[in-house]
């Protein structure tokens, strides 16, 4: 379906003889480098990833089943102009997300003004009533957002999903670039690529900027991980290491006097900022799941007292909930005063009878998602689904319509990708990482490109056969050349 007439980001529209001249050098590179050589480099990169331990554990399998996410050697490229307009849209969207969170956990003006249904927010399990009234240091809730974008044409970008809890994948952005610089240095001679290696510094500055005690570079920042059995542990240790901050587990922290302390060989040290990679549910057994062993008892009290910054703040899940997502254009407009620069994918809220009827009538054309699902699970891709799958979803939709949204199947853009049969187009998405600190928003010029390695597949999740690519953002000089 989508494959044949999809927009290719390097070759242009199907049947377009000119393609995209700005990327001609990349086409040359793909044509002149023998596939065997590309394959050799790709294998070298993957071997390096394995040796570094950039693996993810597959739940339910032995530890020996640690896997690496497949890496594709052919990069994806954005021009400086494309990046500039994307950045503007991202800044606007993330500022709105933070304004929304501050409002929802504060005066709830947007509900009073009837912009979105009160119940959708207040009765949503992602809204944490116990945190109402929270004033996080410097007013920032979602310090790190990963915004998932898809593309359907030269200037047509869409936000597919916001990730405002603990978005992962930035280590792949950085390690993929390292691998490309080592294995394909010639590409970086031909293109002026914006560097991304400053991301850890930008992240550290963001963390330091929200320290409640100030102290600038002296603020004690830590990264809280569930431990090395977590599938994203490599990323946790990689980021802590690149920022030069302690990688702590719950047992390293204790709360006393509404302050958080870490246990060191010299005694305890007060912690100012915690970049936590533990879900809300497991963060504090006194307030959330009482059976959590990963959490720090009392940490929410320290947060509510304003003595520690939690990055991201607990309760941010309400901003990336799929039911809320469909209202993002209204939310952006409400807080920024202007139209959303990055559009949403059209979304049918199946909780609404009309939308439900449309969805049921067009199941074979739509993508249906659980509002609280993630990772590509609980999802129906109509055009490629079997009749049995469609009927299964029809029954589920009728039983619990409020749990679903539906979206049209987009003709996602493709990027040339090394496959067993040589270079062929594969569908991609893109997750840039947006940092919000005490001094405003920063975006490192790059992101994580995920690629659906199966021919025709639109599902890019690593658990469903997806891989990653380096994403090159060109600097301004390139345009003039």
């Amino acid at each position: 379906m989508a494959g044949a007439d999809a927009f290719d980001e390097i070759r242009g529209k199907p049947g377009d003889p000119v393609g995209r001249p700005e990327f001609a050098q990349l086409l040359d590179w793909m044509e002149t480098t023998p596939p065997a050589e590309l394959d050799r480099r790709q294998k070298a990169a993957e071997a390096a990833f394995r040796q570094l331990g950039i693996t993810f554990a597959v739940y339910g399998e032995e530890e020996s089943a640690e896997r690496i996410i497949p890496f594709d050697i052919v990069p994806r490229i954005f021009t400086a102009r494309e990046w500039a307009s994307l950045s503007e849209g991202l800044v606007q969207r993330v500022e709105a997300i933070n304004a929304f969170l501050a409002d929802i956990y504060g005066p709830r003006r947007i509900l009073a003004d009837g912009v979105l249904p009160e119940e959708l927010v207040l009765a949503n399990p992602q809204f944490r009533p116990v945190l109402a009234g929270a004033k996080p240091p410097h007013g920032v809730f979602a310090h790190i957002c990963g915004i998932d974008l898809v593309r359907t044409g030269p200037d047509e970008f869409w936000v597919l999903e916001d990730n405002a809890r603990t978005p992962s994948g930035v280590s792949y952005m950085l390690e993929n670039r390292e691998a490309m610089l080592r294995l394909c240095p010639e590409l970086f001679e031909q293109f002026d690529v914006a560097p991304i290696d400053s991301y850890p510094d930008a992240l550290l500055e963001t963390l330091q900027s929200v320290s409640p005690r100030g102290r600038g570079a002296d603020a004690t920042c830590v990264l809280l991980t569930p431990g090395h059995f977590n599938s994203a542990f490599y990323e946790h240790s990689f980021l802590a290491d690149s920022m030069g901050i302690e990688l702590v587990e719950a047992a390293d922290l204790e709360v006393d006097d509404d302050k958080v302390w870490m246990r060191t060989i010299e005694g305890r040290v007060q912690v100012d900022v915690i970049y936590r990679r533990i879900d809300d549910d497991y963060l504090d057994p006194l307030v959330f799941r009482p059976d959590s062993l990963l959490g720090v008892p009392g940490i929410v009290a320290a947060y509510m007292a304003g003595n520690v910054a939690l990055v991201n703040a607990p309760g941010t899940g309400i901003a990336d909930d799929k039911a809320i997502y469909s209202y993002m254009p209204e939310i952006v407009k409400y807080y920024s005063g202007g139209d959303a620069k990055l559009p949403n994918v059209e979304t049918y809220r199946c909780r609404e009878p009309q939308a439900l009827r449309y969805t049921l009538d067009n199941l074979d054309k739509l993508v249906v998602k659980l509002v609280d699902g993630s990772g590509g699970y609980g999802m129906l891709v109509g055009p490629t689904a079997t009749r049995a799958q469609i009927e299964e979803f029809r029954a589920a939709l009728i039983a619990e319509p409020h749990r679903y949204i539906a979206q049209p199947t987009l003709a996602l853009s493709t990027v040339p990708t090394l496959t067993e049969k040589g270079i062929a187009p594969r569908h991609v998405d893109f997750r840039p990482f947006v940092l919000s600190g005490g001094k405003g928003v920063t975006i490192t010029p790059g992101g994580l490109t995920r690629v659906a390695l199966r021919e025709g597949s639109l599902v890019v999740n690593s658990s469903q056969g997806g891989g990653t690519k380096d994403s090159l953002i060109l600097t301004g000089q390139e345009e003039r050349a």
């Binding site: 809204f127 944490r128 009533p129 116990v130 057994p285 006194l286 009392g298």
Partner: protein
């Protein structure tokens, strides 16, 4: 009424603990019908106590103890002036709109047995208020209320299957039923004064529900006694379910077991007799 409250909690540990952190939701606030004259929490060992307010509007105290901790004694004493308002709650600190209390939680999720209960009740005609009174009575008739608090915190499904429970379990059932029926409902922790002198000393606080009734606002319903709270009740904390409003949520670092003893005593103030 002028009620005197004494609530003692004692933790014993079979092995000394390295640290203990507790979140106490044991301080009531005044509202119409409930005036706090005096209230204090005493801890009988070296500890740090920090007070604040949570998102539900509860006054919470964090209790921090550094080890080795072998036992903790907590004593809450207070004096409260109460007035019978037929269950109506007004003027209470209530930072959240009723819509918050519409969601089902893990403990109050709907289940078949609950839907059966509601179906049996479907015939009940009348306005919302009398419908809820009916629900309250129906929950009261399910099983006799146990004096001792259940050791496990159970979901409504488990309670209905076991057909036995304490006031906490009954409150959860009523809350789940009310929410399934379309009313915002919340969980309340507090104390109850009993005139029967044999009931003087109890082993748990009392738990009941509050339901947002159209045109009336929040009204208390106590399914354990099939009534609306009157001047015998002192309201302390509220939340979506027990987990949000438990008098004590605690965590400890150390081995061994925890042995808990609770004594709750609610009596009439002496001054009442002298008057």
């Amino acid at each position: 009424m002028r009620l005197l409250i004494q609530h003692e909690t004692e933790y014993h540990y079979t092995e000394p603990q390295a640290r203990v952190v507790q979140l106490l939701r044991m301080t009531p606030s005044s509202h119409i019908g409930q005036n706090i004259v005096d209230w204090r929490i005493d801890v009988d060992c070296d500890a740090r106590l920090k007070q604040s307010t949570d998102g539900f509007g509860n006054i919470v105290s964090m209790l921090y103890l550094a080890g080795p901790v072998e036992r903790i004694g907590l004593r809450v004493t207070g004096e409260v002036l109460t007035e019978d308002r037929a269950g109506a709650v007004s003027g209470a600190i209530d930072p959240l709109p009723p819509a918050v209390y519409r969601r089902a939680t893990e403990l109050t999720g709907p289940c078949e047995a609950l839907l059966d209960l509601l179906r049996d009740h479907e015939g009940a005609k009348g306005d919302a208020l009398s419908r809820i009174h009916g629900l309250n009575s129906a929950v009261c008739r399910l099983f006799p209320c146990k004096e001792h608090r259940s050791t496990d915190v159970r979901s409504v499904g488990e309670v209905l299957e076991a057909r036995s429970g304490c006031s906490m379990d009954m409150a959860h059932v009523l809350i789940a039923a009310a929410r399934a029926d379309g009313f915002p409902a919340r969980f309340v922790t507090g104390y109850i004064y009993r005139e029967d002198p044999d009931c003087g000393h109890r082993e748990a606080p009392h738990f009941w529900a509050e339901i947002d009734v159209p045109e009336y606002g929040w009204i208390g319903f106590d399914p354990a006694n099939d009534m609306c709270p009157n001047d015998h009740y002192v309201r302390v904390a509220q939340g979506l379910d027990f987990r949000d409003a438990a008098p004590i949520s605690g965590a400890r670092v150390g081995g061994g077991h925890e042995v808990l003893a609770i004594g709750v005593d609610v009596s009439l103030s002496q001054e009442q007799y002298q008057a």
